[in-house]
């Protein structure tokens, strides 16, 4: 926030700015250039040419298309909760929107990552030592998906062609011949630019015990990335990565029309809006959901969910119907889920742009399901605990984060395999901001009673007051970045990050350098730039350079040097004060006099009095600041003297060290490099200040005395064994 302005004035100015931005976003479809209209006409024309196309009454043809809608799915799926299986039939309608033809279709078969222990996902999961399931897996714990038949439907005078025999598995990332997460279908003829084809696929899938937030626990099911899903054709080829343990997904936008058949009594939550619900003669029900302009479809079901509804209303943003499926034991936390979701819709909506879908489903997954904390279009999972007093930041933090992904992931569809930081990092930064804005600092909460040798976290919470749990800690996760700072360059494709470093690099590092930019430029400059990037990239697949270019253009600052440091390198930052001394400025040693060299002895003056006892002694202060890290960032150097005078120097931070000399009537009290804590990426804050004469040892005594009480109690506990 700019110094000297009141918060209210700033809010009003920001609101005005955002209202203008919002109006632009709302008018965006009407302002699309002629080229977009031409493309739209071509789309309708080409789709009309497709033979055997499935009628889709759910989609209002008069409705304006927000996205390219080039990968559309019509799916019928049946859940068998006893055998934990899905049986599906889908028709994919795909339009080639690139300027190159293709004679292949590449599909993700994500669930085959858990088919056996030889998949790339499993290998990477072992490296990062974060297995979702501990110990040996039983037969029913694994998951897989099998295509029974794939048929290219007749179109444009061509016959229906069975593609099943042409299917082959591919491992474009690591050549792992045992990986079955990508399958390629060879087409009998090329699909030219602008042309549309339809492919019908029947498949079966075994639902795993939860991996990567997907699977079952008891009668709870969370079904994500569950059907043969087309990769993204990018002209130069198909972008269809194998499934990796530490990265997520990438797909084109389209319309999803999904009919899910479940046993009666199961409550369903799914992407999109409910279109119809039919009770079948066999005791099952079929529930149909439809959603336009999304890049995935996810659903969950359980007989235990309690469904609640609320509505987000705002003067400047579109209303959103909220539906919460919550576990019975968390019912008293329902309002907290709704409130945090509204906070996200409000803040993200005002900062970046409005949420356009009109409905959003919040899922509180079953205990132990491992499905919490994940984003899907128009649906996300939060996750809370029994005994969860307000103030500790949960479930508010995870709710805001996952609701925030509706913007950074849902509406901005970056490639999460390659540039995971674009959604995770921007969203982590925004989450910290929204959390702090609404709730202030959280109270550090510790949960006691962790069952040993299990994956279970503690049960009984205790608020530990007296610990600062601030935005820079919660929101930016400096601790997680510290351990991964130099492991990889951030511009390494995310799926190639060292698996255990991916989180630190994608989430934490980005949040830290965005936080640094916020402090360096000011939020009033960074926010419009991020909003412009959001506006430009709605329903598209931006690359990192798009982000950097927009930030540079809108802020009017060429920050390429900064992005080189933080993105295109693995440089780490550590500025510190190397030494700071003050001493009488009287000349010592040999000096030139009238009779040649004259020796002057050192004065014995303890304070600012001269040799005659008069005040007026001048002290020379020498402060050495050092760049211990490899990264370069301009920093201020603050010198504070005992008489209260402050002198601030600006240092470009490029050289390895620099000496600052001052001669003043007072000794130096302390020196500080980066005194305003602009550079959040600084790995060591301890050395950022140097007090010439420590006034107190109280702080170490305080920590030590409190630790000693714990240790003494520890010894008393050990006496039990004696």
């Amino acid at each position: 926030m700019p110094a000297g302005r009141s918060q209210e004035v700033y809010r009003l100015e920001l609101r005005g700015l955002l209202e203008r931005a919002n109006r632009i976003v709302m008018l965006l479809p009407r302002l699309f250039p002629l080229a977009v209209l031409v493309v739209a006409i071509a789309v309708f024309t080409s789709e009309a040419m497709v033979l055997g196309q499935v009628e889709n009454p759910a989609v209002d043809p008069s409705e304006r298309s927000l996205s390219a809608r080039n990968a559309n799915y019509s799916i019928e799926v049946r859940l068998d909760p006893e055998t934990k299986t899905l049986t599906g039939r889908q028709i994919l309608t795909w339009r080639n929107i690139q300027d190159q033809p293709t004679d292949e279709l590449w599909f993700h078969l994500y669930w085959n990552a858990w088919r056996n222990n030889q998949s790339t996902w499993m290998s990477e999961d072992r490296i990062r030592e974060r297995s979702d399931l501990k110990g040996e897996l039983a037969e029913g714990d694994w998951g897989w998906i099998e295509i029974d038949q794939m048929v290219l439907l007749a179109s444009g005078g061509n016959e229906t062609t069975d593609l099943t025999s042409s299917l082959r598995f591919a491992a474009p990332d690591d050549g792992n011949s045992n990986d079955r997460t990508v399958v390629v279908a060879t087409l009998p003829q090329t699909v030219n630019p602008g042309s549309t084809i339809q492919v019908e696929t029947t498949w079966r899938a075994k639902i795993p015990r939860t991996f990567a937030r997907t699977g079952f626990r008891g009668d709870f099911f969370f079904i994500a990335h569950w059907f043969p899903k087309l990769g993204v054709f990018q002209g130069t080829g198909w972008n269809c990565h194998q499934y990796h343990a530490s990265t997520e997904y990438f797909s084109d936008y389209g319309v999803y029309d999904v009919a899910i058949t479940l046993p009666k009594g199961f409550v369903l939550g799914a992407t999109g809006r409910l279109l119809e619900r039919v009770e079948n003669s066999d005791g099952s029900v079929t529930v149909r959901h439809v959603q336009e302009d999304v890049h995935a479809f996810t659903w969950t079901t359980s007989p235990n969910y309690i469904a609640l509804e609320d509505r987000f209303e705002s003067e400047v943003l579109p209303d959103v119907d909220l539906r919460l499926l919550i576990q019975p034991e968390h019912l008293e936390q329902a309002d907290r889920h709704f409130h945090a979701t509204k906070v996200a819709l409000d803040r993200y909506g005002q900062w970046y742009g409005p949420y356009p879908y009109g409905h959003l489903t919040i899922i509180d997954p079953a205990w132990g399901s491992g499905a919490g904390g994940m984003e899907y279009p128009t649906l996300f999972t939060a996750g809370t605990r029994l005994f969860n007093p307000f103030g500790g930041g949960s479930p508010e933090g995870v709710t805001i984060h996952e609701a925030g992904h509706q913007f950074w992931y849902g509406l901005i569809g970056n490639n999460e395999f390659e540039d995971a930081w674009l959604d995770e990092g921007l969203n982590t930064f925004s989450t910290g901001r929204a959390m702090h804005d609404e709730y202030g600092d959280s109270i550090y909460t510790y949960r006691f009673f962790v069952p040993p040798e299990t994956n279970v976290r503690g049960f009984f919470p205790v608020f530990l007051k007296g610990f600062r749990y601030s935005r820079s800690i919660y929101g930016s996760r400096l601790g997680s970045y510290r351990s991964t700072a130099t492991v990889d360059r951030q511009d390494t494709p995310s799926f190639q990050y060292y698996p255990s470093a991916a989180g630190g690099l994608s989430y934490s590092k980005t949040a830290l350098w965005l936080g640094t930019l916020e402090r360096y430029l000011g939020w009033d400059r960074l926010q419009p730039a991020m909003a412009e990037f959001f506006r430009q990239q709605l329903f598209s697949h931006p690359k990192p350079e798009d982000f950097f270019r927009t930030i540079n253009e809108v802020t009017g600052s060429d920050l390429s040097w900064f992005f080189d440091e933080v993105f295109r390198s693995s440089e780490h930052f550590d500025y510190g004060v190397g030494s700071a001394v003050s001493f009488p400025a009287d000349p010592e040693g040999f000096h030139e006099g009238e009779d040649g060299l004259v020796y002057r002895s050192p004065p014995d003056i303890p304070d600012n009095k001269d040799s005659s006892g008069e005040i007026g002694q001048v002290f020379r202060t020498e402060v050495v600041v050092r760049r211990y890290g490899s990264g370069i960032f301009p920093v201020d150097v603050l010198l504070v003297f005992e008489d209260g005078e402050e002198i601030r120097h600006q240092w470009d931070g490029a050289s390895r060290w620099r000496l600052f000399v001052e001669e003043r009537a007072a000794k130096l009290d302390y020196a500080a490099v980066d005194p305003d804590e602009i550079l959040l990426l600084d790995l060591r804050r301890i050395n950022n200040t140097w007090v010439v004469e420590q006034q107190t040892k109280q702080a170490p005594v305080k920590w030590a005395s409190r630790w000693m009480l714990w240790f003494e109690d520890f010894l008393s506990m050990l006496a039990f064994y004696g």
């Binding site: 110990g135 008891g218 709870f220 359980s302 576990q327 079953a366 205990w367 132990g368 399901s369 006691f448 009673f449 962790v450 069952p451 040993p452 040798e453 299990t454 994956n455 049960f459 205790v462 530990l464 007051k465 007296g466 600062r468 601030s470 820079s472 400096l478 601790g479 510290r482 351990s483 004060v577 700071a580 804050r685 301890i686 200040t689 140097w690 007090v691 006034q695 107190t696 040892k697 109280q698 702080a699 170490p700 005594v701 305080k702 920590w703 030590a704 005395s705 630790w707 000693m708 009480l709 714990w710 240790f711 003494e712 109690d713 520890f714 010894l715 008393s716 506990m717 039990f720 004696g722």
Partner: protein, 328 residues
């Protein structure tokens, strides 16, 4: 005819508390030993902290609320005692950290220096217990350090051998615990309610606590037997202790549960009254330390009171057994 009966656990603990409260020097002695051991650690970590902080201005900043970011940085850079600092251990809830580690047995994997120092303390406590038990049995005598330490020396070897035996017992219990909790996790693999799974783990924890208490009680009654009956064999004393516990399960476990409940109440009271680390004045820092020491003295008082109560129980059983023999 006056009836000679077994003493109840409430009465025994009450008498035990009275006995110990009337002998504050015994509590002070034990507390001083434990505090001396802890003080060494406290001085060491204070020195480490000063060294780690160097000339940083954050040294003054630490006078207020604890900066978690700074704590993370300090811990990340240290493999010394600083690495053992955790927020919960600087808070008043630190006592529950130790309670949890007692149930899990995880303390053995803590910082090696701390564990080694802790084992030295356990040896010191084993040494002291000879004097403690002997003094509580011969409770009409005034506490004389010379006599106390002579008894400590006399029984140290036997108590040490007994500790090795019971140590094996504790190890077995923790091995059971390490299998029990993952087993519960596997059994609860389809449980979708936290409340239900938590109850299962609580039942598991209760099982471990009962088994730990069993070993501990056998050890306690064996020590009493070693001193009271001048036994030479620690193994036979352990067998005797086991028989006594099994023969009087309600009284032995009841007494243990009662004193453990009082300790829990004491810990909750400490959590309630002790100032947290957010306080910045030297006076509050001193008060917090003082309250901590009072709590620890209370803890030792309870421990010694339980010893005294257990001796009361054994004496009552002996009286009953003696009367029974006379009657036959």
């Amino acid at each position: 005819m006056a009836r000679q009966s077994k003493i109840g656990v409430v009465r025994a603990l009450f008498f035990g508390l009275m006995i110990v409260v009337r002998r504050p020097s015994l509590v002070v002695l034990v507390w001083l030993v434990s505090m001396s051991f802890a003080l060494v650690g406290g001085v060491a970590i204070e020195s480490e902290l000063r060294e780690a902080m160097g000339h940083s201005r954050l040294l003054d900043g630490m006078r207020g609320a604890v900066d978690l970011g700074l704590m993370e940085e300090l811990v990340a850079e240290s493999d010394g005692l600083i690495s053992t600092i955790q927020p919960v251990r600087l808070s008043s809830a630190a006592v529950f950290d130790n309670l949890e580690r007692w149930i899990s047995g995880d303390w053995a994997s803590d910082h090696r220096g701390l564990v080694a120092w802790g084992i030295l303390f356990v040896l010191a406590w084993v040494f002291l217990q000879g004097g403690v038990v002997e003094h509580l049995i011969e409770r009409r005598r005034q506490l004389q350090l010379k006599v106390f330490f002579a008894a400590s020396g006399e029984y140290f070897g036997r108590f040490l051998r007994l500790s090795i035996l019971t140590g094996a017992g504790y190890y077995c219990v923790y091995r059971i615990g390490k299998r029990l909790f993952p087993w519960i996790e596997r059994m609860a693999v389809d449980v979708t309610e936290e409340r239900l799974e938590m109850t299962s783990y609580l039942a598991g924890a209760l099982t471990v606590m009962v088994l730990l208490s069993l070993v501990h009680l056998v050890s306690d009654y064996a020590k009493i037997a070693l001193v009271m009956h001048r036994r030479r064999s620690s193994s036979l004393a352990a067998v005797s202790g086991l028989f006594q516990v099994l023969a009087n399960p309600l009284q032995t476990f009841g007494l243990f549960a009662l004193s453990a409940s009082l300790l829990l109440v004491l810990q909750l009271f400490y959590l309630w009254v002790s100032p947290g680390p957010e306080w910045r004045s030297l006076a509050v820092l001193f008060i917090a330390f003082l309250i901590g020491q009072l709590y620890l003295m209370g803890r030792w008082t309870l421990r010694l009171a339980r010893y005294a109560a257990e001796i009361q129980l054994v004496e009552s059983w002996t009286r009953v057994a003696g009367r029974g023999r006379r009657e036959t």
